[in-house]
């Protein structure tokens, strides 16, 4: 018995489970669970009247009510159902587009590399918020259009990252050996190069989740993202700014953005320490 107990004490957390990863993961998981289940238990309808307008936080309305008497707490919880999917869609699309083009540029080289990387340079030369605003203004307000704008802003980051990885890995000896042994270019790329390129992409994508949520909220704040009455955090902060002296209207979504961005940053930081220990 004592031997078994002794062994139990020796069980340690996996190497990746550092404190930031655990805290970040917990926050993110909590928000994901809220997003999936909130319609089942939310106290009020997020778009309908829930009480008098401008009720300060209290027992009935934990985060008060807004100008239309909607419950700010309910709307804050529902907000994650807009922010997380949009962040996931933007990151997934940006990773797919960026990594594909980056891998092609790095692997093929020559004029293809030049063409893709100049496009990347041009896109990256615009400040992200400005480019996103221009694209959204052209397409019209709405979360879907904001997502398209953000994909346009984000893919070049992954293209550049993936190209750098491919360039580094293809110089390694095992790749040269594969080429020497007659492997086809696609086999070299998919079997010998790409599997070694994913770590920084994953770390970056995790960190970018928070940034995408912030940008989406910024676009909604300036009226180019979610349209009313969508309970989107940026939109809600914008409503709160109209009624500045009722601090609680913006406080709920503000805290929500803070926690979720912090969660993703912790998670990304921890993953980087584990997957990419060379980075500072």
């Amino acid at each position: 018995m004592s031997e078994v107990a002794g062994r139990r004490h020796q069980i340690s957390l996996p190497q990746w489970a550092t404190l930031p990863v655990v805290v970040g993961g917990f926050i993110v998981m909590a928000w994901i669970i809220i997003g999936l289940t909130v319609p089942l238990w939310a106290p009020y309808d997020p778009t309908m009247l829930a009480g008098r307008r401008f009720v300060p936080p209290g027992a009935e309305h934990w985060l008060g009510t807004d100008a239309l008497g909607r419950d700010v707490f309910t709307r804050t919880l529902y907000g994650v159902r807009h922010s997380l999917p949009i962040a996931a869609a933007v990151i997934a699309s940006a990773v797919v587009i960026g990594c594909t083009l980056g891998a092609i540029a790095g692997f093929v080289g020559g004029i293809v590399d030049e063409a893709i990387m100049r496009l990347v340079d041009v896109t990256l030369s615009f400040p992200a918020i400005l480019l996103a605003m221009a694209v959204t203004a052209a397409l019209g307000p709405g979360l879907a259009n904001a997502a398209i704008a953000m994909i346009i802003v984000w893919w070049p980051i992954y293209a550049r990252l993936m190209r750098a990885q491919v360039l580094a890995v293809r110089e390694r000896e095992h790749v040269e050996a594969a080429i020497a042994s007659g492997a086809t270019p696609s086999r070299v790329l998919f079997k010998h190069i790409l599997p070694l390129c994913w770590s920084p992409i994953i770390v970056n994508a995790t960190m970018d989740f928070g940034q995408v949520i912030l940008l989406a909220a910024s676009l909604s704040f300036i009226g180019l993202g979610a349209v009313p009455p969508t309970p989107e955090w940026g939109q809600m902060i914008s409503d709160g700014a109209l009624h500045f002296y009722r601090w609680w209207i913006a406080a709920g979504p503000g805290i929500a953005i803070l926690t979720i961005v912090l969660g993703f940053n912790f998670l990304g930081d921890g993953l980087r320490d584990y997957l990419d220990p060379r980075s500072p």
């Binding site: 100008a67 239309l68 109209l242």
Partner: protein, 529 residues
């Protein structure tokens, strides 16, 4: 050190003493800052049509007459006397002999004729005011005779509107303005008017920077009593909270669009807050001719939607109860509005009407609104309240906030199925509302709600009644406008939802701030204590 210190003290004391004596005059020369959302579509008097335009035009131009202090009667301005023939088809004006424009040149009959012809021919938003003017004669330099096609009992009221101010025709023509029948295309002066005024008003335009500021300086050649304040700046401040903050910090002397909710949070002894009833109103509007309509917005559907609106709730939620209902597009208190039935919320009737059209399962309707706060009402917020109301009869309102300039384009083409907008009177008289909101041929809303002729929304009865109202006076006129108002209610194209009280917020060293039914804020009456 000591002698220096004493000298310094003496200097400060002398400066303080001298500034005490100089204070009143010095204070009037300090620029007066007004915080306001400018929202200007043009500064050309004949193309401009906005609330700030009313302030601007009434400060820089003068009409033949102006609205009296009672907000109803007309009193002399450029014209010292006038007569009308018995059936109100001919009006004769005598111009003030000493009236001069800001460049010092005299105001003459030819300027009046040119101005009115340009207003009519340039076909801008306020051109409807000259509808019915047949000819203008100028027997001498100081006499103007205006002949109407048909009687117009309200013509004198129209002449008090800020858009009918007299322009210095020589200066305007030198800069590309035209009054000919082809003025709509031949006139090239709109850009010039963005940087220059050419009137005889108490102020002249110094600079206009879109979305930044509108700056006036005193007209040094003003032929009547010079205005007290030498320089006035209207600073672009979009939202009520920022306006209130500027007022509290002393950066602004007057805040013009503070809503009652924000006003209730201001607790400074230096700030005066007055809440007064206004003739301004916010309405929702249905456009059966808009391309994006998913179901035909015919009369029964419009009636159903109007019945589903919680009018009292809108007043409570948008202006914290500081407003009142309005029956028709003619504001409460104007001729013909006494005893009109107030809008009614009746969900059962709404559902019945939709069921009769086979729409009991509901439908979706696009609602594009300008993202702006007018008279303390945030239009997008108002639309969200309407959205909540209409969801009770299964109607889904898709709100799309856009910039006001975009709204102005979209309402013309492709049209906007459902929207919200606002209006402030240009003079005391009901005809302006019929000519702008009525379903009479070529009115602003007949054109835009009908999709530029795509759907026939004309109400012939309103055409006949307007003719009757314009050719009568007294009770007969009131009765005609009353019947027109009832017809406009029945049309259910324009549905007024709230007439908000106006919040006048200003620092306590300012006096003369008042709401005017034609001109919004008469700048020349403002002074420092």
């Amino acid at each position: 050190m000591k002698p220096h210190f004493t000298g310094l003290l003496a200097g400060v004391a002398a400066l303080a003493a001298s500034s005490t004596f100089m204070l009143p005059a010095f204070a009037q020369e300090q620029p007066l800052v007004i915080a306001r959302n400018l929202e200007i579509n043009s500064l050309d008097p004949h193309r401009a049509f906005c609330d700030t335009c009313q302030i601007y035009l009434s400060a820089t131009y003068q009409g033949l007459v102006k609205l009296g202090p009672d907000e109803k009667s007309v009193v002399p301005a450029l014209a010292t006397e006038w007569t009308a023939n018995e059936n109100q088809t001919q009006f004769t004006f005598k111009l003030a002999p000493d009236a001069v424009f800001s460049d010092g040149s005299p105001v003459e009959a030819k300027d009046v004729k040119w101005t009115f012809e340009r207003l009519k021919n340039v076909k801008g938003d306020p051109s409807f005011m000259m509808a019915g003017v047949q000819s203008i004669e100028t027997p001498d330099d100081k006499t103007v005779v205006i002949n109407m096609e048909s009687p117009n009992s309200e013509f004198m009221g129209i002449l008090a509107a800020p858009y009918v101010g007299i322009i210095n025709s020589d200066v305007a023509m030198e800069n590309g303005a035209s009054a000919g029948e082809d003025a709509a295309t031949a006139d090239q002066a709109e850009t010039w008017f963005l940087a220059n005024s050419a009137g005889s008003g108490p102020y002249v335009l110094q600079t206009y920077r879109p979305d930044d500021e509108l700056r006036f300086v005193r007209n040094e050649n003003f032929w009547q009593d010079s205005p007290p304040i030498g320089e006035i700046v209207i600073d672009q401040v979009a939202d009520a909270v920022s306006q209130a903050q500027m007022l509290q910090s002393g950066q602004a002397d007057i805040a013009m669009q503070v809503d009652p909710d924000t006003a209730s949070t201001i607790n400074s002894p230096d700030i005066v807050i007055e809440t007064v009833p206004s003739y301004n109103f916010i309405y929702v509007v249905f456009s059966p001719g808009a391309e994006a309509n998913q179901v035909p917005l015919d009369l029964e559907v419009r009636q159903a939607l109007a019945y589903a609106i919680d009018y009292q709730g809108i007043i409570d939620f948008t202006v914290g109860g500081e407003g009142k209902m309005q029956a028709s597009p003619i504001p409460n208190g104007f001729p013909g509005t006494e005893g009109l039935p107030m809008p009614e919320e009746n969900l059962e009737k709404a559902k019945e009407l939709l069921a009769s059209k086979g729409l009991d399962k509901g439908f979706s309707i696009d609602a594009t609104v300008a993202s702006m706060n007018v008279y303390g009402v945030d239009l997008a917020l108002l639309m969200q309240k309407v959205q909540q109301d209409l969801s009770r009869i299964n109607v889904t309102v898709n709100i799309q906030p856009v910039a006001s300039a975009v709204w102005r384009e979209q309402i013309v083409k492709p049209g906007i199925p459902f929207s919200a907008r606002f209006y402030a009177p240009d003079y005391y008289g009901s005809a302006q509302y019929v000519q702008f909101f009525g379903m009479i041929p070529d009115s602003w809303w007949e054109r835009n709600a009908g999709g530029q002729g795509k759907v026939d929304v004309v109400n012939q009865r309103e055409v006949e009644l307007l003719e009757k109202a314009l050719s009568s006076s007294g009770e007969a006129m009131e009765q005609a406008y009353h019947e027109i108002a009832l017809e406009m209610i029945k049309d259910r194209i324009i549905v007024p939802v709230v007439s908000p009280n106006l919040v006048l917020a200003y620092r306590n060293d300012i006096e003369g701030v008042r709401y005017s039914a034609c001109c919004n804020l008469p700048l020349a009456e403002i002074s420092r204590k």
